[in-house]
């Protein structure tokens, strides 16, 4: 693992904040309005039917999951107080918190969990439809117990690590008997969380206010109100932060150049801390339908041609590290330290291409008859800049790349449905357990058109076996070992090069206290966040 100069600086300033911030040691203060900037808004605010950070950052303050992750990244109960699993992995029992009320005053009961799991998570929720595919029923022996019955073994660790994202509970009495997708509560959510939905003005803002009856009590939540403002222009967003209109910009919502500038401003904290649970890779995907790329030596050669250290330091301002495989280093339960598999070595890359039969016809000429077509993923600066970087790096080893830029729907169609690409960049979000949304990049069998799956024609039966065995292994230690087989195959075959690992960057006012203290803080409920006086 390489540590760059900038990372040391970032880590240092994060420590400085934790140790000597303006309000260190002070008791939390009640009151105040936290204003959050968001780049885009979502069609729904219901995390039980749409799993994405854009929904969580708003809705998870209002609607709560059964389980969240604590400061150490371990599952901790929210609406579930405790749980136990049967030895065969087919039954998981959740004992629910008592005395919790929905915002409309009705009591929270096991029926709500049953309804959310069977009607929303299993049938509608993206990633949930896969995770809960073998969920047969949720039984409710009493009002405060929900028993999940699976037809295939479900590792408890997988379920508990998936639940923070894929386990938000919505009120059955509001949704039952209605069309869940078009229920008005999808944009005016009713939950059990620390903040109560107040007002949503599309294109402008969302307001949620303090829930005085919140079950945690003890004066929580501390904030009076949270306002989310939609500011799509990134330059305008940093101006809003600097003028004091906004106190928090989550999920790398600003331009990287502004993030780097604000990191030197004493009024703000700029850090990836509190986002470790939202780690992603910036990747290069290679279409194996293209004759040259079908050869593994060629794919490896292309990876060796990329000077990723340079890319991280100069394009990403140091807020990233070298990727080592599809499981990121932030995933303590599954990560085994490895070195970056394809260190930069241009001479080696050229030699490998020569050996694979793609010699330069003459000095300075290009190796392939046709240029490689690269579709940059339009997911922001990381993936778009990476495309340019790939183009320039590969030119050095005699491989011409043509870039065809498209917007989101065009990109998804071009890559995942029409397979009309040779190379593409991508943003692979890791969701705390490889079985949630990571192995699907390498397994065969995804229907054509399913976005964020293996659509580049990679087919290795050994890989499919490794993935399937690990997904149903119940013993955590064995499971971790099995996933190392998966990582090794993924790295050796390299249909996808997990080039750069990074967490989202948060930029927030130093007044914002009690924040970024869990690995998925931006997506958590903010019940203990508070604002120090200006």
């Amino acid at each position: 693992m390489q540590t760059t100069r900038r990372q040391v600086l970032v880590a240092g300033s994060a420590l400085a904040v934790a140790g000597g911030g303006p309000a260190f040691g002070q008791a939390p203060q009640r009151g105040g309005t936290l204003t959050v900037q968001l780049t885009s808004e979502q069609r729904v605010l219901n995390p039980a039917i749409q799993a994405s950070t854009g929904v969580y950052v708003m809705a998870s303050k209002i609607v709560e999951p059964l389980v969240d992750l604590d400061a150490q990244g371990e599952p901790v109960g929210v609406l579930a107080e405790r749980w136990e699993g049967s030895a065969d992995g087919l039954t998981h029992t959740f004992h629910l918190r008592r005395g919790v009320q929905w915002h409309d005053g009705k009591p929270f009961v096991a029926k709500d969990v049953q309804f959310s799991a069977m009607e929303c998570w299993k049938k509608i929720l993206n990633y949930g439809t896969t995770l809960y595919q073998f969920l047969e029923a949720v039984q409710t022996p009493d009002e405060h117990t929900a028993v999940f019955r699976f037809s295939k073994p479900m590792p408890q660790g997988l379920l508990l690590r998936a639940l923070p994202d894929l386990g938000h509970v919505i009120p059955a009495h509001v949704y039952a008997g209605t069309d869940i997708r078009t229920n008005p509560a999808n944009t005016a959510p009713i939950g059990t969380g620390p903040f109560v939905f107040k007002q949503y003005e599309r294109g402008q803002y969302l307001i949620a206010e303090r829930n005085p009856n919140y079950w945690r009590g003890n004066g929580q939540p501390y904030l009076d109100r949270i306002v989310w403002r939609f500011i799509s222009d990134r330059a305008a967003a940093s101006a809003a932060l600097e003028s004091g209109q906004v106190q928090f910009s989550p999920y790398s919502g600003l331009a990287l150049s502004d993030i780097s500038r604000l990191s030197k401003d004493a009024r703000y904290t700029v850090s990836t801390r509190g986002n470790e649970g939202n780690t992603a890779h910036t990747v290069m995907e290679m279409n194996l339908r293209r004759a040259e790329l079908a050869k593994v030596e060629v794919r490896r050669a292309l990876c060796h041609a990329l000077d990723l250290g340079f890319f991280i330091e100069n394009f990403l301002y140091g807020y990233a590290k070298l990727g080592t495989g599809p499981i990121p280093s932030s995933s303590a339960p599954f990560y085994v330290p490895r070195s970056a598999p394809y260190p930069f070595d241009r001479a080696k890359a050229e030699r490998m291409l020569d050996d694979a039969g793609y010699k330069r016809p003459s000095r300075g000429a290009m190796r392939f008859a046709q240029p490689l077509k690269l579709l940059p993923a339009p997911w922001g600066e990381y993936t778009v800049n990476f495309a340019t970087f790939i183009q320039q790096s590969l030119r050095e080893i005699g491989v011409r790349v043509e870039i065809e830029a498209r917007d989101a729907p065009g990109f998804l169609t071009g890559v995942y449905r029409d397979h009309n690409f040779d190379l593409t960049t991508g943003w692979h979000q890791y969701r705390n357990d490889p079985a949630v949304s990571t192995t699907v990049w390498f397994r065969t069998g995804s229907p054509v058109g399913a976005p964020w799956t293996n659509q580049y024609g990679y087919d290795n039966p050994a890989m499919d076996r490794a993935i399937d065995v690990a997904a149903t292994e119940l013993d955590p230690t064995k499971r971790k070992a099995l996933y190392q087989d998966f990582v090794k195959l993924a790295v050796d075959d390299v249909p996808v090069h997990c080039a750069v690992e990074h967490a989202f960057i948060s930029v927030y006012s130093k007044r914002l206290m009690g924040s970024h203290n869990t690995p998925r803080w931006s997506s958590s409920s903010w019940h203990d966040a508070w604002l120090a006086p200006a």
Binding site: R43, R202, R229, A239, P409, G449
Partner: protein, 325 residues
């Protein structure tokens, strides 16, 4: 009055084929853009399986062929139904109506400011042609004309919001203050100062130069000499004789530029996060929300037709020799 009513009806009838061509053309054009609104939704969600996508396509009516979709749309349009918005999950008409007020207020203010300031500066420049006020005003006009509105907007924000903290950097009103009456009006006005400046300066420059040239031309005409010979004061000549005639090209331009301004407001609304039609149109394209986009185009086309109709009427008012037909 009756004549004007008849005229309005005739104009409207004439514009129906134009509107149809615009709508069908846009509909077909958007089919060429790869991906549909379900792809856009999946992009937002960060994933989803194929069965979910198929069901969504069915919900949005995207599972049938393009001619059938177009036919369904036109049939609905006959009953003035613009369909449902995919992004907002409610009728397009109400989505547009919510945004229309913001855009209408914003654009009419910008247009009024550009027009009146351009007029005054143009007259001042023409009166002292080649003098220092003329040089100053013309140079300023050139500078305004050369500055792109998004950059100007950002610079205004940096200066007036970040550095000086005089004006808010964006948004339409202060959030959650519950202001009413005059306080609310002032609050909205404070929020609109910077957007109006950044949208209107480029148009101001155009009007200024147009007004100056037009004034100079009219001032050389015979009837002006006659008016002066009659012994009218210079001010009187300018106001009653020159200005009125010089206004004609300006008014023409307002009609023409109205649609350009609608386009420009897309950028400015994004920079200042104003909840207007321009930003809605941009979002609809990105999210492939066909119904909303067609609705916006329809409303904008009607707006442009109406504005041009008013311009025609104004013509007749300014110059009795011209009769609106």
């Amino acid at each position: 009055m009756k004549r004007i009513g008849g005229l309005a009806l005739r104009r409207l009838a004439q514009s129906v084929p134009v509107l149809l061509i615009i709508l069908i053309g846009l509909f077909l054009l958007l089919q060429l853009a790869p991906g549909d609104t379900v792809d856009a939704l999946l992009a937002q969600m960060g994933g989803g399986d194929a069965a979910v996508a198929a069901r969504l396509r069915q919900d949005y009516g995207l599972d049938v062929s393009v001619p059938v979709q177009l036919g369904r749309y036109l049939v609905r349009l006959l009953s003035f139904d613009l369909g449902m918005s995919a992004i907002y999950g409610k009728p397009v008409a109400s989505v547009i109506f919510e945004r229309l007020a913001v855009t209408a207020l914003f654009m009419s203010c910008a247009l009024a400011f550009a027009f009146s300031a351009g007029l005054v500066l143009g007259v001042l420049a023409a009166r002292r042609v080649n003098g220092w006020p003329d040089t100053l005003i013309s140079t300023l006009g050139l500078v305004f004309y050369a500055i792109p509105s998004f950059w100007l907007g950002l610079m205004l924000i940096v200066l007036f919001s970040v550095k000086l903290a005089w004006l808010p950097p964006g948004g339409f009103e202060s959030i959650g203050q519950g202001l009413t009456g005059l306080a609310h009006v002032l609050d909205v006005a404070r929020h609109l100062v910077l957007p109006i400046l950044s949208l209107s300066l480029i148009f101001l420059a155009i009007y200024l130069r147009l007004m100056r040239a037009s004034m100079l031309e009219v001032m050389t005409l015979d009837f002006v000499r006659t008016a002066r010979a009659k012994g009218l004061s210079e001010g009187h000549v300018l106001r009653r004789h020159v200005l009125r005639n010089a206004l004609l090209p300006m008014v023409t331009f307002v009609g023409l530029q109205f649609s350009t301004m609608l386009g420009g407001s897309v950028v400015v609304e994004s920079v200042f996060s104003l909840p207007g039609l321009g930003r809605l149109a941009f979002e609809s394209v990105v999210q492939r929300d066909l119904n909303t986009l067609l609705g916006i185009v329809l409303v904008s086309a009607v707006l442009v037709i109406v504005v041009n109709f008013i311009v025609d009427l104004l013509y007749a008012k300014l110059d009795p020799r011209i009769v609106a037909r």
